[in-house]
């Protein structure tokens, strides 16, 4: 479980996160949604410690993460896997080397064990025979899968995904969404996914948190999405005609 308590973040005297409090439960896919520029990526990066928060606390179970020093954070990061928006695979390393990298940083496994684990992770995300390819030689969808494989290489307790299906066709996007959901349930992880894709919300969103202009505007389950009266949230969710028709049917 991850708890965000009264978190605020200021960039150049402007509040990009304002007093946000939310709890993300274990074993389910938690979604942070919002318009571009709403602050959801800043919130995600604040939770993993890539941005320092100016006010408030971030708790991993009972540990206040933002009060830890570098070494203590490193210990906790052993349990964190993160998939970045564009994959963030290391260009100069092969697919296999990318997945082995976190094992090099955090474990004393032998090379054979690391290769075995890398192969297992690649198989789990349905990629085979790509071990020795470079990121520039694989498709966008494969990059996302490799990024997931790297994120789960250490069997983490917490998984973070920043816009996992951006730039993908709808069919591949759903495959990636379900892959994240399956892995979350299989390993009982606390997963937080950052997205503005409503398909993802309706497919995998066990809990949905809506951020608007740096503030938490709404939170609930995917079933509650269709029945809320929150105007700002409805304007975002039902922005296109198809979504409006779906809303009217319900």
């Amino acid at each position: 479980m991850i708890q965000v308590r009264n978190v605020s973040k200021v960039f150049n005297s402007v509040y990009v996160l304002k007093n946000i409090s939310v709890t993300f439960e274990q074993g389910q896919t938690n979604l942070i949604i919002g318009q571009s520029g709403s602050g959801k990526t800043v919130l995600l990066k604040a939770i993993v410690g890539l941005h320092d928060v100016d006010e408030g606390e971030i708790l991993y179970e009972d540990v206040v993460f933002n009060k830890l020093n570098f070494k203590e954070k490193k210990t906790l990061r052993r349990q964190i896997g993160m998939m970045f928006q564009a994959g963030a695979l290391f260009d100069s390393s092969t697919v296999e080397e990318n997945i082995i990298y976190p094992m090099d940083m955090f474990t004393n496994m032998s090379l054979d064990e690391k290769i075995e684990r890398a192969n297992f992770c690649l198989k789990r995300v349905n990629i085979e025979n790509a071990n020795h390819l470079y990121p520039s030689e694989i498709s966008g969808g494969m990059k996302k899968r490799v990024a997931i494989a790297r994120a789960i290489a250490l069997n983490p307790k917490y998984l973070f995904c920043d816009e996992p299906n951006s730039g993908l066709d709808p069919k591949t996007a759903i495959v990636i969404d379900y892959l994240i959901k399956e892995i979350t349930e299989e390993y009982n992880m606390t997963t937080i996914v950052n997205t503005h894709d409503m398909n993802s919300v309706m497919e995998i969103g066990a809990k949905v948190v809506f951020i608007h202009e740096g503030e938490k505007c709404w939170e609930g389950t995917k079933k509650e999405v269709l029945h809320t009266d929150n105007k700002i949230f409805n304007d975002f969710v039902f922005a296109n005609n198809l979504a409006k028709q779906v809303k009217n049917i319900h």
Binding site: L50, A88, L89, F90, D91, Y101, M105
Partner: protein, 211 residues
């Protein structure tokens, strides 16, 4: 490899032409019978040793190596590869920048030595081709009144310049914010700032070491 070995050819090409041109210019501007011909060789040697092989080569490397470092680290920043390193508990600044600084600080002195040798060879070849002075006078000149401290002076400057090139360029890459356009702008800024810093420290080091 890119930073050091990859620069050998450009250093060889530039140094050979610099040595040749210095020799020709000195020869054509000192056509006085009371001026010993061997001083042309001495002029080439000291010019290469004191200024060209350290400072001019450093300015060229600031363009080649500096922009390479800035764009490489900057690209890693905008594609979130540096964030990925941080997530894995890696001190990204130390991991990405320190090896580059160590590599250039250790390898650039070798480039300077190569530059001096090739520059003197360039001067010798142009002397043979044009016959502007007897080759024997040139060979005598490059050995005449040699001050070994000039080599130390050139190497000290090279080490300082190597540190400036790498650290300034890495800083501009590491703190780039935005997209590909900003990486390009940062590369340009890194080359300009490191070149100015090199020229500035050239004056300071010359005053400190040769006064």
């Amino acid at each position: 490899m890119n930073l050091g070995v990859g620069s050998i050819w450009i250093v060889i090409i530039i140094s050979s032409f610099m040595g040749a041109v210095i020799t020709l210019q000195t020869a054509y501007n000192t056509e006085n019978p009371i001026f010993p011909k061997y001083l042309i060789g001495l002029g080439c040697r000291d010019s290469m040793l004191l200024e060209f092989s350290s400072t001019v080569v450093a300015l060229i490397l600031a363009g080649k190596v500096g922009s390479n470092i800035t764009s490489e680290i900057g690209s890693m920043r905008i594609s979130e590869q540096i964030d990925a390193l941080e997530i894995m508990g890696v001190n990204s600044a130390s991991y990405l920048i320190l090896p580059k600084i160590i590599a250039t600080v250790l390898f650039n002195p070798l480039l300077t030595i190569i530059s001096v040798v090739v520059g003197l060879l360039g001067g010798w070849i142009i002397v043979i081709i044009t016959g502007v002075i007897p080759a024997g006078d040139y060979i005598f000149g490059i050995q005449y009144a040699f001050i070994p401290f000039y080599v130390t002076y050139a190497l000290i400057k090279t080490v300082v310049f190597a540190f400036i090139i790498t650290s300034v360029s890495a800083y501009h890459g590491y703190y780039v914010d935005g997209g590909a356009l900003e990486v390009g702008k940062s590369s340009t800024r890194a080359v300009v700032y490191s070149s100015i810093a090199i020229l500035f420290f050239n004056v300071i080091l010359t005053q400190l070491l040769l006064s």
